[in-house]
């Protein structure tokens, strides 16, 4: 592993930022600020402090040190050939954000925002969380930096992600279950904004994704772009060429923007975001915001969202708590509309099939969120297969997937899905059914352990 030495004063080499958003946070027609006036002063303060901080050599050195010594960056890139046997002949590389401290990409952003919190002299942070990964990361950074921390989490999600609730509490954070609305991430965001507007003098809102009002989408992108900056260099160094496509799951969109940004200027590299298709986009029970939504305003920005004819937000559905959100970051809406990125929906069943496959072929348990990206690469691989290197067809396609997090938090959900728990009562879901083989060789040596028998001696 290479270690990067902290930048020295005077030798600032920040990677080029995209030409968007504009000064007021607009990505074309998307983004902006749709918030009560009471929050404008705090958002202006954050914007100003952030713009000063992001070019401050002392900050950059501290941030680089934390990323290296605390998070464990750079995260490796792992080729997964046995998994790739199910991807139509393409080669698959994983960017291993699951190996970061706290288990996902969320820590990248939180360390940046926690340093910013200290810089503006506030002692308390608040955060929203869906899967709990952003809450855990925020609680972690708060413990590290001596800040007090309150995390809002939909009551429904506190049940789905009980392990992460316990982790946050161990780390000293207060976890507030939110009982309004659909009791999921969108309502946790509403509650966090209410807390912020009331306590803004002492409190900074550490937002968890590339959504929300300006400056959050641009700032969180800057903190997450390390994923793609590293990966682009790693792939070039190892392969001598760029990948044909870069894939990532999209909830609010931070891990996807994080890996996309470095590749945006590389016209030959396809950027593909995988949204949560739930039961299927045509059933209406999904969280595929760009695929199945329309432009509107939610949580402080204009972007695609799931809404009804009255402009009410529609509740989203996904097996993945971290993707179960009816909005999406404005930069994704923009990348979609200008045609630079593609967005596709992956159903719960497809994601769980890919989840099981990666576990059994490569010994890596992914977050269910990330499993959506894995399902996306299985489909894409079968479409492009051997036609890599920009479609010239002289070598297999090289596909880079952001493995945004690890699946420890999802073990209970997966056990229920696959019927690994109470055998009498549970019908195993697709992907690890009793025959195992219909999952297209989740175990490729024909020694599949049928789901419900997985715990038995053979």
């Amino acid at each position: 592993m290479t270690t990067t030495s902290p930048p020295q004063p005077g030798e600032l080499s920040l990677p080029a930022r995209p030409g968007w958003p504009d000064r007021t946070g607009h990505f074309g027609v998307f983004g902006g600020r749709f918030v009560p006036e009471a929050l404008i002063a705090a958002l202006d303060e954050l914007t100003e402090a952030y713009e000063a901080m992001r070019v401050d050599p002392a900050f950059l050195a501290e941030f680089a040190r934390l990323q290296r010594d605390y998070t464990g960056r750079p995260s490796p890139v792992t080729e997964v050939p046995k998994f790739a046997e199910h991807c139509g002949g393409a080669r698959v590389l994983l960017k291993r954000e699951d190996l970061n401290h706290t288990g996902s990409h969320k820590i990248n952003n939180v360390l940046g925002q926690a340093l910013l919190t200290k810089r503006i002299g506030k002692q308390r942070v608040i955060a929203e969380t869906g899967a709990g990964q952003h809450g855990v990361a925020t609680a972690t950074a708060a413990a590290l930096m001596g800040l007090s921390c309150t995390v809002y989490m939909g009551e429904e999600d506190t049940r789905r992600q009980a392990l992460n609730v316990a982790r946050m509490r161990l780390l000293g954070a207060e976890v507030v279950p939110v009982t309004t609305g659909s009791r999921t991430l969108k309502d946790a965001i509403n509650e966090a904004f209410r807390d912020w507007v009331t306590n803004v003098e002492t409190t900074n809102y550490v937002f968890g994704t590339v959504a929300g009002p300006h400056p959050f989408p641009a700032m969180v992108r800057d903190f997450q772009r390390v994923i793609g900056d590293e990966a682009r260099g790693q792939v070039l160094e190892r392969e001598g060429r760029l990948p044909d496509a870069v894939l990532a799951c999209v909830g609010g969109g931070s891990n996807a923007i994080g890996i996309f940004t470095a590749f945006v200027p590389d016209d030959g590299v396809r950027l593909i975001g995988l949204e949560a298709g739930g039961d299927g986009v045509d059933t209406g029970r999904h969280a595929a915001t760009i695929t199945g939504g329309t432009p509107g305003v939610l949580h402080g920005a204009r972007s695609y969202l799931l809404q009804d004819d009255n402009g009410q937000t529609v509740e989203s559905h996904s097996i993945s708590a971290g993707l179960d959100y009816p909005g999406v970051g404005p930069e994704h809406s923009y990348l979609h509309d200008i045609g630079r990125a593609e967005y596709r929906a992956i159903t719960d069943a497809e994601a769980m099939e890919a989840f099981a496959l990666l576990c059994r072929t490569e010994g890596i348990i992914p977050a269910i969120e990330s499993a959506h990206a894995l399902a996306g690469v299985m489909k894409l691989g079968r479409e492009v297969g051997g036609r890599g290197a920009g479609g010239r067809g002289d070598e297999p396609a090289l596909l880079l997937v952001n493995l945004s997090g690890r699946g420890d938090k999802d073990v209970e959900t997966a056990s229920r899905w696959f019927g690994l728990g109470d055998r009498e009562e549970v019908d195993p879901g697709p992907g690890l059914d009793t025959d195992q083989n219909p999952t297209e060789g989740a175990v490729s040596n024909d020694e599949a352990v049928a789901g419900p028998d997985a715990g038995e001696e053979l």
């Binding site: 609305g181 009331t198 003098e201 949580h299 009410q312």
Partner: protein
């Protein structure tokens, strides 16, 4: 010609502040909410803030959330809102719509302005739309001669007080405290300080104060330094606790005495 501005000026001519009552459309039903708005007018409200229910009311506290949540679930939409606007106008008060931005954007800004004007509405209060993002609404409001009310807050800088009030027509909504809607035991000094600063920024514009006022004596206190007193959660609580139109009328009478004290 501003319908809101005129009504507030008429109150001032009587040496009192205007009483502005907020009620959301559709709680507990559309008809009962309209009856409550009419009762608020009968009790002495000058202006009714007609709330469009919204699924994600980020600026509202638990009382208003509870009522609008029920209305959202019942599928209340713009057609119901426009019916309430016409009923309030017929009852003799000035109807102004209060809406988070997305329901208006979804309906279509131009269509909203045209239909609101046709129903007799004075304009709209937009709590999560700042003038910086409001070009489309300002143009449509101008075309249909509608008032537009934006918010200022204790945290607003003097520069923002100037730019926000410059975009307002009718009045400017001074959010008295940093926080969400809900009744409070005291109104606090921040409200008066904000009104003074806002008047300096815009000497010709009426300044109305909202957030936290719930009874006649608080209304009297606010009426001592503002052009209008906005009451929301206290009205909604009358509805939530089942006192309906009668409770709303009685509250209006109490508050109407307050703004005349």
């Amino acid at each position: 010609m501003s319908a809101l501005g005129n009504r507030i000026a008429a109150a001032r001519a009587q040496d009192r502040a205007a009483l502005i009552a907020y009620l959301p459309v559709g709680y507990p039903t559309v008809d009962e909410s309209i009856a409550a708005m009419v009762a608020a007018v009968e009790g002495g409200a000058d202006v009714i803030e007609i709330g469009i229910p919204y699924s994600d009311p980020g600026m509202d506290g638990p009382v208003i959330q509870e009522a609008v949540d029920a209305a959202v679930r019942a599928g209340v939409g713009m057609r119901d809102v426009l019916r309430a606007v016409a009923a309030v106008a017929a009852a003799g008060a000035v109807p102004v719509v209060m809406s988070y931005w997305n329901p208006i954007e979804r309906y279509g800004v131009e269509r909203f302005a045209a239909d609101l004007a046709a129903a007799g509405g004075a304009g709209a209060i937009t709590p999560d739309l700042i003038p910086d993002e409001a070009a489309g609404w300002l143009a449509a409001a101008e075309e249909h001669d509608l008032d537009r009310v934006f918010l200022v807050a204790p945290s607003s800088t003097d520069a923002r007080l100037r730019s926000t009030t410059a975009a307002c027509r009718g009045f400017v909504y001074a959010a008295s405290t940093m926080g969400v809607t809900g009744t409070r035991a005291t109104v606090g000094d921040a409200a008066e300080a904000l009104v003074v600063r806002t008047r300096e920024a815009a000497p010709g514009l009426a300044v109305c104060v909202g957030l936290g006022v719930s009874n006649g004596s608080q209304a009297a206190e606010v009426a001592g330094f503002a052009d209008g007193v906005i009451v929301g959660s206290a009205y909604v609580r009358e509805m939530l606790e089942g006192r309906g139109a009668d409770g709303v009328r009685a509250l209006s009478e109490d508050l109407a005495k307050g703004v005349r004290a």
